[in-house]
Every structure is written in structure tokens, then in C-alpha cells.
């Protein structure tokens, strides 16, 4: 065996190392994906009075809660039924029953969202049957709603867990679709979106468009709760009544593509009209959202929105010299990446390395055609299923000007000596980024501000005295 006795940082930065790094087949280093139950928990918190409940080992829940709390700097309420070694032998039914009873009594939820973690799945617990028995044993009242989702960590990622839980919540809470009961609402599904400000922005725009809508799920008030001097464990969420009527929606508009395919397919199977658009990042993305909603309402788009759009475009033309031709590397969830690449291409920015650990075949096709559609996308390569250690090799061997991604990218950015603009999840080393939208026309302005000012800050910090100028 050939052993390299003295590895060095310089060696890590070589093309030779990059080849070695890309040759690995099984080892995953610094992946940009979390696991299914985190997504399920995240989804469940978007329903009024809903208590997320992990059926599995207790450590999982501690991890989900702390990960979300670190990102949002908000409390995250969720329980677990704390399965231990004996549950591995006898199954977790007793834990589930006792857990439901205690959680129901202590925390008085309106609905409990049960989702599994690995242990329960590996031993083959039948949560549906267990739930039936729980009602018989009166651990919870007969008619108390409990939504179910199977979400082991060894399948999909946090976005698929979100999808499964969303379907589970609708299945649990919605009454069957009835032709004479169709409501007049547009149900909007944001997808796995970690910006409460994005959800608030959707609501603001929908109001301007005078659309009758329901945002499902809506965790904006949970993850961006006001400090009023009291703690509200259940703050906000899609009202239960709206959940009950979810299958009678006039129509659905999905604002992400890859975090909700199961739910949208399920709704379509129930004859519910469904439309899916890309996460509305960038002008064209938001235009599509406005047009879809306007088509639903049948009303004209108000001038106010046209002006708002115009202000965003004004910001684009103002700032284009700072982004045009700049090279970017990006990593994150599929929906976010499609949105950010759309935005960059609109600005004349050039995506070069795009790393998506939790890519799907549809996403790969979609991203490739998006890149092919623009002269600014020609230098880009999509690295599907790759991780941030791959990304590091890319950054040090084929340099770019900026990295876009979550806080986990900070080491790779540091090694490549480029700035990281934090977009995505989790962001644990900066404050308040989730409080400003990245979607919509205002999101366009915010993205331009973050990216441009970061570049300019670099210029100022690194310029010689002779080139230290008042204007940039």
C-alpha cells in the first residue's frame, strides 16, 4: 500500500488531491443534508397547536430541537417517546402509548404529529396499528387527531421528511373532498423554507393580490415569535379549520418542487387541482408566482406590485457591475439552488460550482436545462450527491469569487480565501438572516445587498491606500 507519510495543507489544495477526493465512493465528508425526521418536525410546527412527537430514540429529538433553535434563536417544542434497548426487543408500542398520554396531558396540543426515527423503522414498528391500540387503551381520546409519517434517516433527507409529514397531516386532519363543499381558497405550500420572512412576504403579497388563501404549513410565527414577556408554546400555524378543509381547496400552489412531490401527487390523486412553481427567488421566479396567483383570483395585478417589481429591477441595474461576470459556488437544497441560480443568471453572475448533496434525478435535469438556458450558466457544473469536502477541492483548484451557502461552508470558504454569503440552513453564526426575505421582489433587493456589499467590504479591506476610494 502506498502511504503518504506527510500530508500537508498544500497537498490538500492540489489537483491530484481533488482527483483522489472525487474518487471516493462510500465515504461522505461534510454533507449538506440533514435527515427526514428533522423535516417532519419542522413541517409539524407549522400547524396550529401541533406537537411534534418522535417515535424512536430520544437523542434524535434533542438534536432536531437544538439544531433548529441554533438557527432561529427560538424555542422549539417537541417530544419523544424515548425508546430504549428493551423497546428494541419488544417494540415501541408501550413507549408510544405512554408518550401520547403524557404529551396530551402535559402540553394539551390540538394535534400530535408522530413521525419515526431510525430505531422504530429498523425494528419494524407499525405506528398505525399502535395508534389504533392507543385509542382503545384510552391513552388519548378516540377522536383526538394524530398525524403519522414514516421518516427514517436512512432514506431521503430533511426535505423528504417534510413531504411525508405534510401528507400525513393532511390525511389526518382533512375531511374528504366533496364536490359541493369546495372552498374558494388557494392553498399555498411554501415547502422546506427556513425563512419565516419568506412566509410573511408571501402573505403580504397575497393580501395585495386580494387572494383568498391558506398558507400550509405556516411556521413563521413559531420560528419568528415576538417577545411579549410570556412564552407561548403554540404560536401560530395553519389553523386547524383550514387543515380540515385542506382537501376542499379550490386549488393548490406549491412554491417548491423537490420538497413536496409526495404531497402534491397525493392531492392530485384526490382530484385537487395542483400547480407547482419553482421557489420564487429572482425576478422571473416571483413573476411566475404573481401570475399564478393572479390567474387564480382572475383580478388585475395591482400597480403597487408592478412598482415594487420595478424597484427591485432598479436595484438590479444599479448593482449589476458588482455581480456581472463574478464567479460563484453554491450549495444547499435543490429548491434553493434552482432559485439562487435563477437569480444569479438574471444578474449576469456566473455560477461555477453547484453542490447538491440531496439532489434528485428531476432536479439534475431541471438544473442542467436552467444552466443551458443562459450564457452565464455555461461555466457551471452541477455536482449532484457530492459534499462540502468535494466543494473544498473545487474551490481551491478552480477558484471562484464567492460562496453562497449555510454556515457549514465557512471552512471551505476560509480555505479558499473567499467570502461566504450565508443563505440556507443552518445559519448558526450570524444573526437575523431569517428575518429578511430572499424570495420575491424584496428578496431580490436583499440578495443584491448581501452579495454586493460583501464584495465591496472585501475590496475596502484589501485595497491599498492608493486605491482606497470614497466611491465604489
Amino acid at each position: 500500500m502506498e502511504t503518504r507519510t506527510k500530508a500537508t495543507t498544500a497537498w490538500l489544495n492540489t489537483v491530484e488531491y481533488r482527483e483522489l477526493n472525487f474518487a471516493r465512493e462510500k465515504l461522505v465528508i461534510n454533507p449538506a443534508k440533514a435527515c427526514q425526521p428533522l423535516g417532519a418536525l419542522f413541517c409539524a410546527l407549522g400547524v396550529e397547536g401541533c406537537l411534534p412527537f418522535t417515535h424512536g430514540s430520544q437523542g434524535c429529538t434533542a438534536y432536531f430541537r437544538s439544531t433548529l433553535s441554533r438557527h432561529y434563536r427560538e424555542p422549539v417544542a417537541a417530544v419523544t417517546d424515548s425508546m430504549t434497548e428493551d423497546s428494541a426487543v419488544f417494540g415501541g408500542q408501550n413507549n408510544l402509548h405512554e408518550g401520547l398520554k403524557n404529551a396530551y396531558t402535559l402540553y394539551q396540543p390540538k394535534v400530535i404529529a408522530v413521525f419515526t426515527s431510525c430505531m422504530a423503522e429498523v425494528i419494524g414498528d407499525d405506528i398505525k396499528a399502535y395508534l389504533g391500540n392507543a385509542r382503545e387503551k384510552e391513552s388519548i381520546p378516540q377522536d383526538f387527531p394524530v398525524a403519522l409519517a414514516n421518516t427514517p434517516s436512512f432514506k431521503g433527507s430533511h426535505i423528504t421528511g417534510y413531504d411525508s409529514m405534510l401528507k400525513g397531516l393532511i390525511e389526518c386532519l382533512a375531511t374528504p373532498r366533496q364536490a359541493d363543499k369546495i372552498n374558494d381558497k388557494l392553498y399555498i405550500v411554501p415547502g422546506f423554507d427556513t425563512y419565516p420572512a419568506n412566509l410573511r412576504e408571501y402573505k403580504r403579497i397575497l393580501k395585495l393580490l386580494k387572494a383568498l388563501y391558506t398558507l400550509l404549513p405556516d411556521n413563521s410565527d413559531v420560528f419568528d415569535a415576538p417577545n411579549l414577556g410570556t412564552y407561548q408554546m403554540y404560536s401560530g400555524g395553519t389553523p386547524i379549520t383550514e387543515m380540515n378543509d385542506a382537501l376542499n381547496a379550490a386549488s393548490y400552489l406549491f412554491l417548491q418542487t423537490y420538497s413536496t412531490p409526495t404531497t402534491s401527487k397525493y392531492l392530485a390523486s384526490k382530484e385537487v387541482p395542483v400547480e407547482t412553481i419553482s421557489m420564487p427567488i429572482g425576478i422571473a421566479g416571483m413573476d411566475k408566482f404573481i401570475e399564478s396567483v393572479a390567474k387564480f383570483t382572475g383580478a388585475e395585478v395591482p400597480e403597487e406590485i408592478t412598482f415594487e417589481r420595478g424597484r427591485a429591477v432598479d436595484a438590479m441595474t444599479d448593482a449589476h457591475p458588482y455581480i456581472h461576470g463574478k464567479k460563484f459556488a453554491l450549495f444547499g437544497d435543490p429548491d434553493l439552488l434552482i432559485g439562487l441560480v435563477t437569480f444569479l443568471l438574471e444578474m449576469g453572475g456566473m455560477p461555477v460550482h453547484i453542490v447538491c448533496t440531496n439532489a434528485t434525478p428531476t432536479f439534475i435535469t431541471d438544473m442542467e436545462s436552467l444552466l443551458a438556458s443562459s450564457p452565464y450558466g455555461q461555466e457551471a457544473t452541477l455536482y449532484a450527491g457530492k459534499d462540502l469536502w468535494h466543494l473544498r477541492s473545487l474551490l481551491v483548484t478552480e477558484p471562484v469569487d464567492m460562496l453562497l451557502g449555510d454556515s457549514h461552508g465557512k471552512w471551505a470558504a476560509r480555505d479558499a480565501n473567499i467570502p461566504l454569503v450565508r443563505i440556507g440552513f443552518p445559519i448558526t453564526d450570524r444573526v437575523n438572516l431569517h428575518r429578511s426575505p430572499i424570495i420575491g421582489y424584496s428578496g431580490v433587493i436583499n440578495l443584491i445587498t448581501m452579495i454586493t456589499n460583501t464584495f465591496l467590504e472585501e475590496v475596502d479591506r484589501n485595497s491599498t491606500e492608493a486605491h482606497f476610494e470614497m466611491m465604489r
Binding site: 500500500m1 495543507t9 462510500k26 435527515c35 430514540s57 434524535c60 430504549t84 413507549n95 425494528i123
Partner: protein, 477 residues
Amino acid sequence: MSIKETTDFRKQVVEDVLKIYPEKAKKDRRKHLAVKEDNCEGCAVKSNSKTVPGVMTARGCAYAGAKGVVWGPVKDVVHISHGPVGCGFYSWGNRRNLADGEIGVDNFVPFLFTSDFQENDIVFGGDKKLETIIHEVMGLFPNAKGVSVLSECPVGLIGDDIESVARRTSKDLEIPVIPVRCEGFRGISQSLGHHIANDAIRDHLLGKGPGREVGPYDIGIIGDYNIGGDAWASKKLLEEIGLNVVNIWTGDSTMEMLQNGHLVKLNLIHCTRSMNYIVKHMEETYGTPWLEFNFFGPTNIRESLLKIAKKFDQTIMEKTLIVIEKYEAAMAKVIESYHSRLSGKKVMLYIGGLRPRHMIGAYEDLGMVVIGTGYEFAHKEDYEVTIPELKEGTLIYDDVNAYELEEFVQKLKPDLVGSGIKEKYVFEKMGLPFRQMHSWDYSGPYQGYEGFPIFARDMDMAINSPTWKSIKAPWTK
């Protein structure tokens, strides 16, 4: 209120809090809650038992204890989170166990290495994959001194034989490969994970290194994970009194330090909960003595330094006295400067390993009083040494859950709560000052004379921040 009245009031609080529980849960939880009384009758609490399902516990799992706490900080070893992606992802880069070294060359602390199990691995087993992964690790990181394999839940459930893989790869690659059976379902908290991790070090590394000459002042620090640089602050102080810190377990640690843990004159143990196992083993097997110490706050520091110095010669004692004198003057100034802002302030703590006891003195040095304390995963012996240190009327809560802690805090009305990230924002929303006492709220170090002024500043900042005054809108009632 008199002490008696306070005690009775708090006992009533416990009763009131228990009322809502279903019978079975009530019976269990009652045993974990107590109020300290002078004669200490009835103030023993039950601990280290299964968490009541569904109550919103703060506890984690064996994997968290083994990977997150004990193994993760060892910097020159690659730690593979073996199993699905989640566990590794959530324990990646968020414990603040600082390490000094070249990242990717001889420091792997800021990494997540995972075998990212898929359904196929569950069905067909992950041993082959693990073997490939270990080879890939050594190809990409040839300076790694070893590989640890930290099992996640599925590994133990599907019957994988990671021990065989470890033996085989260790032989092929000529490096230690350490299997750690810390599946999350084992035990009832992080605690068993600590124990399993200790046993793995004992079985695979301790005493198996090249060895070294032991100098007269060589000591080891055991059970300090260098949160926010704590171990460095302690090391500096110990070196100032003339001792030579050759090993730290496991903050900023190396494999060689783990191999040579017994090759010292004295092991100083900081976190007894997570590493008492190994110091006892080193004493029994190699005759290496150990001593518990506490470097939080000048009172504890003085007591510990003197205790440590007594184990050595007069030179060390003389230096120690000089060091104490030198710093205590500075510490007195720190205390004085915060006195009017902190004295008499009440604190409630709920933390892990040793801090619910060790931190008390530091607060008391500032004139503050701890009125409630509890551990996430302590054992009987931890409470046995904690309870005598508590003031009469102190509320004690073991494995307290979100509901109970919120109720206790609302009834006891402390000026400051010190606990973890999961608790932090609940109390801040109530308008209550809070500090994370696992991560030092991204500050630190808090240990040693270097840490105490930072600790004092942070507690003052939390309690006296003007931001709390803005909560109430002038137009609300």
C-alpha cells in the same frame, strides 16, 4: 420569607407541578424532585433512570455522549459517524470543543465523516461499506493517527460486526481503528455513551502507545473538553504553579495523549460524570492517582490549587501560594466591580455533567445565590456530593422536563436561568435573563483566573442588559 417558609413554599410548588401528570408519570417524576432541607431527609433524588416518554426531556443519547462528548474532541483521529446521516449532522461543529491544528492534516475536529446509510445498508448490512470507508479515510487523510467508529442506532439493530471490520482494517492499515458501540438506544441518556467511550479508550488505546518518561511534575487533565478554551485556561494556570500538563482528555487532545493517560504523576479530573470510569481504571491498573478539581470561581480555584499542590513538593506549594495571591487581588477587583449589579441575584441551573454543582461557587463568589439546580444525566453519587453543597431550600430536579422547568422558574422567579440551547429561548421569551451553560453561550473560557472575569461579565450582561426593559409596550396593560 424565613428559610422554613421558603422550603415549605418550594415543596408546595413541587406538589402543584406534579398535579397535572397521569398517575404513572406522577409516581415516577415525584422521585426526581426534592427540596434541600437541613437534615437532608427526603432530599435525595432518584436519578439515572429511564426518561418518562412524551414529557419533553432535554436528554440526548449514548451516541451524543460517546461521539459528541468524549471522542469528538480528539483532534488527530478521524471519527466516523457510522449509520444514517442525521446523528453526525446534528453533532457537527456545535459543541465548541476547540482544537489547535491544521484542519484536514492533523486536526479533524471541524469535520463530519459519515457512512450515510441508505436503505440498502440496512437490508444488506454496512460492514463492507465501513471497510471501504476506513480505507478511503486513510487515503485522503494519511496523517490521521487512528479512526474511531461511532455506531448509530441501526448498526446495533441490524447485527453488523464493526469489531471485525475494525480489527481487519487496523491490521491492514497499521493504525488503531476503534469500534465504539454507542447506539443511541443504549442506556437512558448520554451517560452510558460516556462509559462506552471510556471503555473503548481503555480497551484499544490506553497503555498501547510508545510510552514516555514520566517527569516529576507531569500531570493529566481528564474530563475537560476545552469548551470555549476552558482546558487551555486550566493548563496555563497549572503550568504557572510549576506543573507540566502532558495530557488532556479529550479537549484539544491527541491519540498519543489517550495512549499515555496513565503516564503521569497525577490525573486531575474535571468532569467526573463522563470520565470517572477511566481515572478509576488507571488507578487500579497502573496505580496512577487522581484528584477532582474545580476551577470555576476564585474560591474553588484556591481550594483546588492548594489541594493539588499538596500532592507535590514545597516548590510547587510556594509557587501556588504566589499565584493565588497574585490573582486573588485581581479577582477581588472583578467581584467588587460587579457587586452592586449582581449581589443577591438568584440563579436556577439545569445542566449536564458536573456544572450544576461546580458552577455554584463561581456564582457565590459574585454574591449570587443558586436557588435551584439539577442534572440531565447524573447518577446517585453525583447528587450525593451535590446536595450537601446546597443551601437549605434549594430546589433539586433530576432530568427535569420543559413543563416542569417552566413551572418551577415561574414560581421561584430567579433573576437568571442557566441551562441549554433548548431552554434558552423559552425563558428569554418570558423576559428572563438566560445564559447557555453548556456552550458558554459562544463565550468563554469560564475556567481559571482567566475565565472568571469573563464569566462575571457574561452574567452581568445577561442580568443587566437594557434590552429586557424594552419588552413591555407602553400602551399595553
